[in-house]
Assembly symmetry: C2
């Protein structure tokens, strides 16, 4: 009952050494590779709970902000409203949350966790937290502390208004 097989196929001995040194100099490329690996693993951690990374994130936001509307949830997760519908459907079908008519606005639903949802929240958050500690186990204390703020500043820097000159033309950089 300790979960499914977690093997990875790797024994692909290439005849020549392929260099990706140029790509490795770009943070975007390294972020993509690291995130893809982590997401696959997080989904495996969440599978026993019947959750994926997105449904887990939605459940967490709902438990932490009971009564919020779907458009607020979509906004918090940076997910388009149409795509959120299926995610909320999924959580509701599993009895983890409920859609209640909003008293103030008859167009909107207030999202609330059920008792089962709150219980699953606690177990899933603990499991994901353990996984997070696992994948950062080889980082120093300082690196671990810096990682999340750095990622947040990259996100913020990139979301900021990009002047047209920066977007297409390019400034001198080395």
């Amino acid at each position: 009952m300790a979960g499914g097989p977690a093997k990875r196929r790797k024994p692909k001995g290439s005849q020549r050494d392929i260099s990706d040194a140029t790509l490795r100099r770009f943070s975007g490329y390294n972020m993509k590779r690291a995130f893809n690996t982590v997401q696959t693993d997080v989904n495996r951690v969440l599978a026993p709970f019947g959750l994926r990374m997105v449904t887990f994130s939605a459940l967490v936001i709902i438990v932490d902000n009971p009564g919020l509307r779907q458009s607020q949830l979509a906004d918090a997760l940076s997910v388009e409203r149409p795509n959120l519908v299926l995610i909320v459907d999924d959580l509701e079908r599993r009895g983890l949350i409920s859609r209640n008519p909003s008293p103030k606005d008859r167009r909107a639903y207030a999202l609330n966790p059920t008792d089962d949802g709150a219980k699953l929240y606690r177990a899933a958050v603990a499991a994901v937290g353990d996984h997070d500690a696992w994948i950062t186990r080889h980082l120093s204390h300082a690196e671990r502390a810096a990682l999340i703020p750095v990622l947040q500043r990259i996100e913020a820097a990139d979301r900021a208004e990009v002047p047209e000159e920066k977007a297409s033309g390019r400034p001198q950089t080395s």
Copy 2:
């Protein structure tokens, strides 16, 4: 000729403040958000070159490793072989690379860049490099230096064999 519109829609003033503090404590969640933002932007930078992030990566690997086989390219990019076919098709159709019959193995193709491919490589690498400097402009020198090695160690740590106990059960972590 300075590229298309780069506006972002953001003026969604939520009525209440929605907290994602729990999610923000997980590096995977922050990696997802940062990477999604960066990828969207990188694709916008590459669009004028007729490239996407994946085709750009493939072109770079081919230019840096001329004569390699498709399976080696797939391996280097961590892309499944079937998915690579369309990527290589794309680059070949644009005249950036050529598929040449391998002299040693009649099943295989040797991938080589064309002159146009090598030229586009230089321009695109410069543009992506500038974008990379742009999104990390608010990081300290130390943070910038640490970012890529940290991402690589997370990827390596997660690719490593995951013991069954770690995968499903969970050790004590605060």
